[in-house]
Symmetry: C2
Subunit: 160 residues, 2 copies
Amino acid sequence: MIDKSVKIDSFDLKILTALQRDSNLSQRDLAEKVGLSQNACWRRLQRLHSTGLIRGSHIDVDLSALGLDLTVFVMIRTRHHSKEWIDSFRDHVERLPEVIDFYRIGGEWDYLIKVVTRGMSGYDAFYQKLITNFDLATVTGFFSMEAMIDNRGLDLSRMR
Amino acid sequence: MIDKSVKIDSFDLKILTALQRDSNLSQRDLAEKVGLSQNACWRRLQRLHSTGLIRGSHIDVDLSALGLDLTVFVMIRTRHHSKEWIDSFRDHVERLPEVIDFYRIGGEWDYLIKVVTRGMSGYDAFYQKLITNFDLATVTGFFSMEAMIDNRGLDLSRMR
DNA sequence: GTTGAAACACCCTCAAT
DNA sequence: ATTGAGGGTGTTTCAAC
């Protein structure tokens, strides 16, 4: 659980924003960018890690260069709303390797899944796995024509 | 432009998968994890960078701990399909700091935007900015109740 | 908060196999 | 592909301000 009482100032937001853009910045470059001494910057970074505000760091892979060239947003409506059914559906979807996002949502639909596959045949294979053993009322895929922004790091200094 | 002729083997996929999970792995740990010598692993890593397969690295920030606790998937239908209109709409959306994903999609809707805000009032502020000066036929927000998977790194070894 | 210095770990290269 | 070793760079800690 995260300690919500952690105090964050604009230096911290600058650190987080800079490392969202490039987590391989050296301590020297990061300190210069946020306007702190290397030492002070390093201490803040430790704090951001230990409080859980920084959850980890990850490389960004060019999936389409690997042939994973189709992104689909799958909207699902179901007839089942018991806790047991939801838990088993969650387990089912989590095991599907094509899944990047999986949200339970409100409104007209129950679930939204963001999926990456090898073209349409890969999507069909995903679809077949998805509906196996699960009674879904409606499944609709919205196919990406163009990713204008994909998982952009937020400029936290501008968010408020 | 990416060189699509780059040859990738299962060692490369293991490297990419491991660094998607944690890009701060030391060369020693990474080499051990994929089953290569540190030296060989380092050379592959250079190649993955120089061919553009690794686009960069980023920290993952706990946005809800910063008060950015509402995720909304916004579906948009428009009446305009000229190149000029699309370009200016793209510029407009790219300037909105709340946007994480922005896709042009096929089917019943034209655009899908993934947005993070400070609660419902933050979403309303986003919505007002979004529709200012742009004629959108339909705008519907699907509100996240629960993020079961959020931007999961794919296990590339399992994708085919 | 700052600078500066020292200890340490890691990265990168190279040579040899 | 591998190991091993050296030099350079960056990180981390500490002392003093």
